[in-house]
Symmetry: C2
Subunit: 171 residues, 2 copies
């Protein structure tokens, strides 16, 4: 079965009017999940990055296997108060309100080239914040990589000029 056919549309989640792309059937299908991890890893390998970053929580499901496949360090970015050592924080705005992300201050060094991996690119707000965390440490975003891109929501433009790669594009 093609990966595309495993993505399940859930109407009115998390709120009325939103059609949510449920990726859990892909996770439950080992061949499909492996295809996704291998495709992401192949794209990233061409970018010459030296670290893989994943944003809590679904970014962990894709980022950790990609890091393992490439033999690269995996760096978690988390919601405030979750990472135990010294952190730096970045804030970002959501449709209603604001949120923040943190990274350990010793996770990146100036000159690192990082790939950020996530399941879905929608408006791009969360990953754009993660990019700012990376760049604030003097590191470079070599690639942002997504299983699904919802093209109509402008995430690619929000992340520009950082490189955006996606495996499945939907309008």
């Amino acid at each position: 079965m093609r990966v595309q056919e495993l993505i399940r549309d859930i109407p009115d989640f998390p709120k009325p009017g939103i059609l949510f792309a449920d990726i859990t059937p892909v996770l439950a299908h080992p061949e499909a999940f492996d295809e996704v991890i291998m495709a992401m890893s192949g794209l990233i390998q061409m970018q010459g990055v030296n670290k893989i970053l994943g944003v809590e929580s679904r970014g962990f499901i894709f980022g950790a296997p990609v890091a393992q496949a490439l033999g690269l360090p995996f760096i978690p970015v988390r919601k405030p108060g979750k990472l135990p050592a010294d952190t730096i924080k970045v804030e970002y705005t959501l449709e209603y309100g604001a949120d923040a992300l943190e990274i350990h201050t010793d996770a990146l060094e100036a000159g690192d080239r990082v790939a950020i991996v996530d399941d879905l690119l929608a408006t791009g707000g969360t990953v754009e914040a993660a990019c700012r965390l990376v760049e604030g440490q003097g590191a470079h975003v070599g690639a942002t990589v997504f299983m699904i891109e919802l093209s109509a929501l402008g995430g690619r433009e929000k992340l520009a000029p950082r490189p955006v790669y996606s495996l499945i594009q939907r309008s």
Copy 2:
């Protein structure tokens, strides 16, 4: 470097008096992370399980690569309101207050044998709740597998008689 030496003790996190085992240096060390995933996968392979379950968020970092290594489905268990399709919920008590976990109702079938993977076994409350979610669906917990077990906190007893495997034991 041995995996044990990469675990970093952070005093007074998340609150005064707690010595927190920070596993992020293991994630940042590809050979060590690979050793952990391979050791977990080897233990699980002996248990004849057919699905791997990970609890949000750090359980995702270990569970997804283990599932990929074994070619088994990965099932996420999440905090309430995060999983988009129909869910069942289980509540559990913490030191102060209560929390809850959810699983998709179609994630497990009666007769499934599940391994639950997480980074750390402390008091075992969260994983015991995940076990009840599995058992409530008529499935069986074939193994619970942890990178680190804090033996003095009684998690193994809390999870009994379910099988508990850990790679690194600390008092």
